[in-house]
């Protein structure tokens, strides 16, 4: 679960990481009043969205008077940034930045541990720096026995060339960001840029905090507002999340259901390989029941781009007869009239085949053959 910038900044502040003190507003009028309250000439107006690359997409505006604030808020509020609607903007005093640093904590899969990453060359081009000047990026991996200790923050600070009081503040912020990472079961805690101001203070100009979905059971404090976070998804994607199935919409016309993420991805690839265009990714999961499978079908039924449904099931825990019954029921109770191409293999394959045959539906047992057929059939719908 991703937190909005203003939410992450609140959490940063609570643990003692300096951030600009701004206000979140949802209307132009509020924006003007917030500007007055901030009593700062130069401010920055930032769209509160969960997608990355907001700055390059025009989601951040500077303003030096109330008219500019009004204009920025008007432009941003209600607009879409990379497909996500802007419901709120954050208005903050503009920082007097002398240098943009980078500080982030995430999981390093290869090293199988958290990694704290620092650079003295932060800002929008940090990924370019990582590629062209890898030495400008410093890392500390964390041992679970001792966690991330203050001295590790000092090592990072020292390795990116900081000294004196700034070294101490940077180390302190690194420790606190790691505390957030550990305490919130985060998959990412990041500040880019972490601003070094002309006054020699370090301030988190941006803040990100993404929590591992699998760990939300330990963080009930976020259970109330997980719905509002679905803003980044379409109506059907939201429905899928509520059902607990993985569903992502694409641009094609062949609706796809598989069981298991890998098999479903391979199914999309195969459709594409044979010249078709998938309308979606839908992983019905490893052990879905008849009812659950029917719910998954209902999502594709409601997606107007889906002209044909390709079901690809290699049943282990899942049972082919459950899948077959779900398809039959979907056609009756959901009035699902879209054509099906179905591949069933594995547990109770024969039974599933029999059930569908009784409803006049043909079933393939080979994935390639089925995919070819689906592409061919879709071109005729």
């Amino acid at each position: 679960m991703k937190l909005y910038e203003h939410e992450a900044k609140k959490i940063f502040r609570d643990i003692g990481i300096p951030t600009p003190l701004g206000e979140v507003v949802t209307s132009v009028e509020e924006a003007k009043r917030a500007y007055a309250r901030l009593a700062q000439r130069s401010v920055v107006v930032k769209a509160q969205v969960l997608v990355g690359g907001r700055g390059k997409a025009g989601g951040i505006k500077f303003a030096s008077n109330v008219e500019e604030v009004e204009s920025a808020a008007k432009t941003l509020l209600g607009s879409e940034i990379k497909g996500e609607r802007v419901g709120a903007v954050l208005i903050e005093p503009k920082l007097d930045i002398s240098r943009e640093l980078y500080l982030g904590v995430t999981w390093d899969r290869s090293e199988r541990s958290p990694v704290v990453i620092a650079s003295s060359e932060g800002g929008v081009n940090i990924e370019g720096v990582a590629k062209t000047k890898p030495d400008a990026i410093k890392r500390v991996h964390v041992d679970p026995e001792i966690g991330f200790k203050p001295f590790m923050g000092r090592l990072l600070a020292s390795s990116i060339g900081l000294t004196g009081r700034v070294l101490q503040s940077f180390a302190d912020i690194a420790s606190k960001m790691y505390s957030l990472f550990d305490g919130f079961d985060a998959e990412l805690v990041e500040s880019n840029p972490l601003a070094l101001t002309s006054q020699g203070e370090i301030v988190a100009a941006d803040a990100r905090l993404n929590i591992v979905d699998d760990a939300l059971f330990r963080h009930k404090e976020f259970s109330n507002n997980s719905d509002e976070r679905l803003a980044e998804y379409s109506v059907l994607e939201r429905k899928a999340r509520q059902l607990g199935v993985q569903y992502v919409e694409l641009d094609g016309s062949i609706g796809i259901i598989g069981n298991g993420a890998g098999l479903t991805m391979a199914t999309l690839d195969l459709i594409k390989y044979y010249g078709g265009e998938p309308a979606n990714f839908l992983d019905a999961g490893g052990g879905s029941s008849e009812e659950e499978f029917m719910q998954a079908l209902s999502i594709l039924n409601e997606n107007p781009n889906v002209r044909l449904v390709f079901v690809n099931i290699l049943a282990g825990i899942t049972r082919c007869d459950d899948v077959a019954r779900a398809i039959v029921k979907a056609r009756i109770s959901l009035g699902m009239s879209k054509p099906f191409v179905i591949r069933l293999a594995g547990t109770n394959e024969e039974e599933g085949r029999r059930i569908l045959a009784a409803s006049g539906i043909n079933v393939y047992s080979d994935m390639d053959e089925a995919a070819k057929k689906a592409v061919e059939a879709a071109s005729k719908v």
Partner: protein, 291 residues
């Protein structure tokens, strides 16, 4: 031989009185796996599957039933505890089926296992099968056949699909290992490749990868330096939507785009044939082993 599990496997099922644990304990026993014990705290003294004793602790399962391998079905919030218990009891191989284990828990378990010199597989994985010898996992037995191809994969059902294609083409498997798809896993491609290289029954290896991360790139580098046996790779996700981004940090850490193209390039440069579809795999294996 085969790797990880075979006739010498003496399995304890942690969470055997749960729905999943009970079902798969029966399936594994039916396959011929030597299921010697179950563990379910507070239920010690029960018998399940006619004669399999249930204990309160893994230590009892080791001491009294001679367990040497464990499979874990306990729910995610208690999975870390179950894994640590298994390691502490001296179990040499622990397979964690449980999904949704927080990575911070896996991280602690993986480090503890490394320090004790024991092996974890998973979490969020289908387990390991050495066809005809032992099954320690949740895979459908029918798609596998004993033979000389080692399979290692980040996926679940896709592994079954590939194994099915191999089996239909007459290519049996020495062992099939699902390492799990979580950010942090106990055993990586490299570890399994190393075992397949040493295993006399394995003549060729299929590696099934996915987009994201850099595990496949690392595996390619390892293969080019350490593997004498032919390897065929397949990477799923060419058509997948770009994953939700992990800030800048994700890209900085892996130093790769994690795309099918990048991974294909890495494998090709390492001399590994990359299949465009799962159904191409058997032919590529056949060609590679013929040489």
């Amino acid at each position: 031989m085969a790797i990880l599990v075979d006739e010498s496997t003496r399995l304890v099922v942690q969470g055997i009185t749960g729905r999943e644990g009970g079902f798969h304990a029966a399936q594994m026993a039916a396959y011929g796996t030597n299921v010697v014990a179950g563990v379910s705290p507070g239920k010690g003294g029960l018998k399940v599957l006619d004669s399999v004793p249930v204990y309160d602790t893994v230590r009892q399962a080791v001491k009294e039933a001679g367990a040497n391998t464990s499979i874990i079905f306990v729910p995610a919030p208690n999975a870390l505890d179950a894994v640590l218990e298994s390691i502490d009891a001296g179990i040499r191989l622990t397979v964690i089926i449980t999904e949704h284990v927080p990575p911070s828990d896996t991280w602690r378990a993986v480090n503890y296992a490394a320090r004790r010199g024991v092996r974890l597989i998973g979490p969020n994985c289908p387990g390991v099968i050495s066809p005809g010898k032992a099954k320690v996992g949740i895979m459908p037995a029918s798609v596998f056949k004993r033979g000389g191809v080692g399979v290692v994969s980040r996926s679940g059902t896709l592994t079954y699909e590939v194994s099915l294609q191999l089996t239909k083409s007459g290519l049996g498997q020495s062992s099939v290992v699902g390492i799990g798809g979580d950010p942090i896993v106990g055993t990586g491609f490299k570890d399994v490749l190393e075992m397949f290289e040493k295993d006399v029954e394995t003549h060729a290896v299929v590696l099934i990868g996915e987009i994201g991360g850099d595990a496949e790139e690392k595996a390619a580098a390892y293969i080019s330096e350490h593997l004498s046996k032919p390897v065929v790779a397949y990477i799923a996700g060419r058509t997948a939507p770009p994953g939700k981004r992990m800030g800048h940090a994700g890209a900085i850490v892996s130093g790769t785009e994690g795309t099918v193209e990048a991974k294909t390039k890495a494998f090709t440069e390492a001399g590994v044939a990359v299949a465009k579809t799962p159904s191409e795999i058997p032919a590529l294996i056949a060609r590679a082993t013929r040489r």
